[in-house]
């Protein structure tokens, strides 16, 4: 394998992991997902077009693989988002992720297509066009998913734009009240 290809694959790993964790809500499962993605990608490295975005290519493979696996599991496990939420609950706090627990919980309540759109655009730094390519949908669809995701998150975290939200104080109070 070309050294530059090898480097760009490895360079994408941290961000692939972050994306995978956001998708499936479980670090171990996410790392398996990243591993399976890399095995697939490297087996098909010839179909990668040099000069195009390696990261976007890998994200697409990961996302499609997750979708097909997820659908399979869904049949086995029944409820998809409930399962996701449970996997968050059962997971012990890892690596200083404690401070993001509230945020992850809120994220877990979004429909999965909104969640992935929001992450790709709002955290991974892809353009709407790139995110649309990764998800295999229209740019307008991504835009509306991102908007809906933001609106719902703001509701869940009860950010109304007037109060100064000390993220943790306030979200903790909201969540404690709701459980």
């Amino acid at each position: 394998m070309d050294e530059s290809v090898r480097k760009s694959v490895l360079a994408a790993v941290p961000s692939l992991r972050a994306f995978a964790i956001s998708l499936c809500g479980n670090v171990d499962r996410a790392d398996d997902l990243v591993q399976e993605t890399m095995v697939r990608a490297l087996a098909n490295i010839d179909s990668f077009q040099p000069g195009t975005n390696m990261s976007a290519w890998l994200f697409t493979i990961l996302r499609n693989h997750f979708r097909s696996e997820y659908r399979k599991r869904r049949r086995e496990v029944e409820d998809s988002d409930g399962h996701y939420a449970d996997s968050l609950k059962s997971q012990p706090e890892q690596h200083g992720q404690v401070e993001f627990t509230e945020f992850r919980k809120a994220l877990a309540q979004l429909p999965s297509d909104q969640r992935e759109a929001l992450i790709l655009v709002g955290a991974s730094g892809f353009s709407y066009e790139e995110a649309a390519n990764i998800c295999g949908c229209a740019v307008g669809t991504i835009k509306s998913r991102v908007n809906r995701a933001r609106t719902r998150l703001a509701e869940l975290l009860s950010i109304d734009g007037v109060n100064d939200f000390g993220p943790d104080e306030q979200t903790r109070a909201v969540l404690a009240g709701g459980e």
Binding site: L10, V13, P14, S15, A18, D31, F103, I119, A123, A154
Partner: protein, 61 residues
């Protein structure tokens, strides 16, 4: 008497988020994401690439 402000608020379209709210959500989202990104590349992935690459350098450090 209903204040103009509260009336305005209840009429506001739910889909419109202020810039400030979006900025805050964005900050939180990136902080959560970057927390994972900053963990770098775990060994298992570096090893995996070497293995799959086949170039498995004879000097396996």
């Amino acid at each position: 008497m209903e204040s103009a402000a509260s009336r305005k608020k209840s009429e506001a379209k739910p889909a419109k988020l202020g810039r400030e709210v979006q900025a805050r959500l964005g900050q939180q989202l990136r902080a959560m994401y970057d927390d994972v990104v900053n963990q770098g590349v775990p060994d298992r992935f570096a090893d995996l690439v070497s293995r799959l690459d086949g170039t498995d350098k004879k000097d396996k450090h």
